[in-house]
């Protein structure tokens, strides 16, 4: 295997990791939307003129236009899967925060604040529910 391939593989992995570490950056989100629009436009263009993928392929040194499309598809698929993975993980975490708050609030409603009312100072004993119940973090 020529060394250039190793360099290319390593750098594409590095780009992938870099992209996902900074996935909250607004430039990246704008970039991915533009990329999606560009791919859509390319798809329409290559339906109108099926020779376009072939010509692009020969410019970049790929034998067939279909191969080029396959490569692009692989890249798009990997990015999409990882993007969805992180999105699902994020919404799992939100669900977890929400369920935790519900569980704790229910426990406080059923049995009072942990440690009992004796622990609360006299001034906070009346109407303290908002002080002793949990809140969703970050809200």
């Amino acid at each position: 295997m020529p060394w250039i391939k190793i360099v290319l593989i390593a750098s594409s992995l590095a780009v992938l990791v870099g992209v996902f570490r900074h996935r909250q950056r607004v430039e990246l989100r704008a970039g991915s939307r533009l990329l999606a629009l560009l791919l859509g436009a390319l798809a329409v263009a290559s339906i109108a003129d099926p020779d376009i993928p072939q010509r692009v392929a020969s410019v970049v040194g790929v034998t067939r236009g279909t191969d080029l499309i396959l490569y692009v598809l692989v890249v798009v698929f990997v990015l999409t899967s990882l993007g969805l993975y992180f999105r699902v993980r994020e919404s799992d975490r939100r669900l977890q925060d929400l369920a935790r708050v519900i569980a704790i609030n229910q426990a406080v409603l059923d049995g009072g604040a942990p440690g009992g009312a004796a622990r609360l100072s006299p001034t906070t004993q009346e109407g303290t529910r908002s002080d002793t119940t949990a809140r969703v973090p970050g809200s």
Partner: protein
């Protein structure tokens, strides 16, 4: 009463057969016990209440780490809580060990005290489990920088300072590693304490399959590499 400023957190998932006994034993020394029922379907909740613990019930099953975090959040609502103990619901730990650990953390300048079955003893531990735990040592050292003789012991005692920064997010069993990562990030002093772990037939049948460590390791590596900014 002794240990008025201690909360014992017992994450519980389908432990109806044993959880009541565990809680009753704890309540002899610890007035404040909270058991987090992580969506059990076997009546664990009733056993928890019968044992005399506070019950916090997850509406859905969310995993042991999430249950532990819920217990910590609940106990933190008590302004008098100074020490937090985590204690498995399946009866593998000994209450005497927990009492000794609380005593130790009170008298030393330590924020996190972790039980170790390798400093203490493990009754009826299988050889395969032992090898896995030895491998876990090195994995945890490499991923969090914290070296412990027993990286995955369910018996832990920590201060309010550490409880307030804990905030664990890993839903799966990877939370044990996340816990160690939090110790490293917080730079608070920690130590290990010899304890005994009883491998009863019950706890072995219910415990983790060793192969699950593969899932855990992959989760941790992915989480570290692609951490991302919120």
């Amino acid at each position: 009463m002794e240990n008025e400023d201690v909360w014992v957190i017992v994450p519980t998932y389908n432990e109806a057969k044993v959880v009541r006994g565990v809680i009753e034993a704890l309540r002899v020394h610890f007035p404040h016990v909270v058991a987090v029922d992580d969506g059990s379907v076997d009546g664990s909740a009733l056993e928890i209440l019968a044992g005399g613990a506070r019950l916090v019930r997850h509406p859905i099953n969310m995993g042991a780490g999430a249950a532990l975090q819920t217990g910590v959040d609940f106990a933190l609502l008590d302004p008098g809580a100074r020490y937090f103990v985590t204690f498995d619901a399946d009866g593998q730990h000994r209450v005497d060990d927990a009492v000794a650990m609380v005593e130790h953390i009170r008298n030393h300048d330590i924020d996190v005290l972790l039980g170790s079955r390798f400093l203490g003893s493990a009754v009826n531990m299988k050889q395969s489990r032992k090898l896995l735990l030895l491998a876990a040592r090195w994995f945890e050292k490499a991923s969090s920088g914290i070296y412990l003789t027993d990286a995955h012991n369910g018996l832990r005692v920590f201060s309010r300072t550490f409880a307030e920064v804990l905030r664990m997010r890993m839903a799966d069993m990877a939370w044990a590693s996340e816990f160690l990562g939090r110790i490293a990030d917080s730079k608070l002093p920690y130590a290990e304490f010899p304890v005994t772990v009883d491998y009863t037939e019950y706890s072995q049948a219910k415990g983790q399959h060793s192969i699950n460590s593969v899932n855990i390791a992959v989760d941790i590596v992915v989480n570290r590499v692609l951490r991302g900014h919120r």
